[in-house]
Subunit: 295 residues, 2 copies
Amino acid sequence: MDLNTYLKKKQKLIDGFLKAYTGGLKKQKECPALLSEAMSYSLMAGGKRIRPVFCIAAYEAAGGRSEEIMPVAASLELIHTYSLIHDDLPAMDDDDLRRNRPTNHRVFGEAAAILAGDALLTDAFGIIAGVKAPPEMLISVIRELTHACGPEGMVGGQLVDIMLEGKRAKKRELLYIHQHKTGTFIKGAIRIGAIMANASSAKLNALTKYGEKVGLAFQVIDDILDITGTPEETGKTTGSDIAKSKNTYPSLYGLKKSKEIAKGLINDSLAAIKAFDEKAEPLREIAKYMLERKN
Amino acid sequence: MDLNTYLKKKQKLIDGFLKAYTGGLKKQKECPALLSEAMSYSLMAGGKRIRPVFCIAAYEAAGGRSEEIMPVAASLELIHTYSLIHDDLPAMDDDDLRRNRPTNHRVFGEAAAILAGDALLTDAFGIIAGVKAPPEMLISVIRELTHACGPEGMVGGQLVDIMLEGKRAKKRELLYIHQHKTGTFIKGAIRIGAIMANASSAKLNALTKYGEKVGLAFQVIDDILDITGTPEETGKTTGSDIAKSKNTYPSLYGLKKSKEIAKGLINDSLAAIKAFDEKAEPLREIAKYMLERKN
């Protein structure tokens, strides 16, 4: 299989759904124009859509075949986008550049940015609740998602990350940050794909393991790219982790050891889904690609 | 019926649920202590719990009898609390006092306050998804809630409110702000109670009308109290609307006319549920009480 073709195809489907969503928002008289603009600005900034892609690839790996996965997968991008908007705020990471463009609050102001994030988070659940799938399945998805992105997941990770800025984290604290800030959401995206495909518990467990490893690897590699990448490649200010004394794998383990850790995690993720057939090929290729990615 | 006894009883049930929820958070190892503290601080600050109470009263008015309404009703308080935390931020309303205590960001810092709000919003949906009720009913509740609190609801109202600060709003803009900032959520809380009770569409429509009128009245009366109340009574800085050149009913219509409008809305709300039996007595009493409330 050609991963690039696969990614492009899925990204196009996701972008199509997101475009229809933001188009609907703009036509919705009850939604203020400034709010739909602020939401669309960040949502349509052309990210990698990696969480939706993971969700779809896991869905397919577990035997799912319907288009119903699309809105569920796309809703994950609303949540990811809300978290970026809030994380970039002056009171948080205070970033000016995201995906090669000024951050949301630099364009729309802080109040609109906070509210655009709130609205995206809220609407993510609204989109899922509107999917034509068995309601008990959607309820499982929502439970999974709130666990992955709530106080014991992504939000918790973000808080510890900010609180330890400028302090030297212990290794277990760094692991907590990375697992929660990024890992649990990616793992959650993969589990949600499996749930939507009605995966057996054996398959769900294997995909969970895959998600755990690949999710952590993703953040370790992000740390590495903040040092080795350029703003043109990554679409964001690089070197900002060092400038802000962020706790990262390179800062704690060094660059070489961090790369080894990432490689080990990717190998573990591949081992977890060894028993899957060729429908898991995209998941395997994505994992391998992680080690080569530049953004 | 004695409204005071009714309110106290329901508030106690809601507070009991919320206490169990925050207790669970504190024990949850994956949730950072600072985050659960920030969430609990605002959630347990002892509000009126009026949205949950509306939800329960509508549930009962429509014939609901089970305890399953409690978590659903309590989840509304998580959303209300998140909106207060975010609204109080320096970039938003910049308030120092809420429910007679320093606002969340004054105690925990802005980053923790933003994240505590995000976590409460996320967990609200997690609580609903965990309720033992027919999944299709819970999906309807989530759809209703995202509509009431998303970009075309509460968040939209808050944005327009902030954007028009210092400018003189047109009457239709003020109506938009009040209907969306407060009205749709209260209407939504009432509709959610009706949905959980499996109300007939006739009953749902009547309760929707009641909710629309009483929800708008609630915000008009809030405006009035900001002028006529004291900080001791209302638990927040009074006179702040004038200080911040907020658009309010008194600022556009004058105090006397605003009181008349509120009274008219309350009468309309009572008319909407005229056909209901004695199980709607709490809804009627709450509506009448609105006109007398001091906080």
